[in-house]
């Protein structure tokens, strides 16, 4: 794929599947890390887009989400930015802790953190950057054991 891909999405959940598929097609040459792209990156990008649309933009159809994909320094990086006020990711509990109810929500940020090599937010909390190293073909070995 080109080393940089930037596009805006309308704040519509129905756009997520095609947006993620579009990015995945552009990443098709990265076969050596196919599983990490197919699972770790694809799921995490979906989570980031959903969080941006639902929580960041408050499901406001007049707002947009910016997606910036870059390959540099042996890693693929996705930055997803919404137009919301931001949030504190530290307040999100671990959904696998036994005292938490087995509820419907609350697993998105957890999955991103487990599936990606790095997840970081800007100070405002409205932009998340996901980093997946491309020199690592271990699949999910770093994610399953803990």
């Amino acid at each position: 794929m080109e080393r940089q891909l930037v596009f805006d999405l309308p704040n519509e959940l129905d756009c997520i599947e095609e947006a993620v598929a579009f990015v995945m097609r552009r990443c098709a040459q990265c076969e050596v890390v196919a599983r990490r792209l197919r699972l770790n990156f694809r799921v995490s990008l979906t989570e980031a887009l959903a969080n941006a649309m639902i929580y960041g933009n408050g499901s406001d159809p007049t707002k947009r989400v910016r997606v910036e994909i870059r390959i540099e320094n042996g890693a693929i990086q996705a930055r997803v930015t919404d137009e919301g006020q931001g949030f504190d990711p530290e307040v999100v509990p671990d959904p696998t802790l036994p005292f938490l109810p087995q509820g419907e929500g609350g697993r998105g940020l957890f999955l991103m953190r487990r599936l990606m090599d790095e997840v970081r937010y800007n100070d405002r909390g409205n932009s998340v950057t996901l980093v997946l190293r491309l020199d690592d073909d271990r699949g999910l070995q770093n994610g399953v054991s803990a």
């Binding site: 997520i16 599947e17 979906t46 959903a50 959904p95 419907e104 994610g143």
Partner: protein, 110 residues
Amino acid sequence: MAFHVNREGDITVIDVDGQLIVGNRQELKQKVLDEVARGERKFLVDFTNTGYIDSSGLGVLVSLSKKIREQGGDLRLASLNEDLRTLFELTKLNTLFRIAETRDEGLQDF
């Protein structure tokens, strides 16, 4: 993507073709709840033709499982590929659901 509902004896089988993610989870939820309202209690979700699931997809399965159990039924899963199994293991939802290797195994096991 699509959800196909079929009947195998007294078991309602739902095939998930494509993705089960935030954009279509409500469609699956409504289809299953419609079947519950019709009196169905045994559900098997077959993931043979599923690409990937996100946290919303996992969440709707948890929600449906809870509702069906409250009605005295059960929702089970079958034919998870390696990627999907990994997601269930990461979230520890493999301990919540009964997961069959194949559709036939899931049907016979009910």
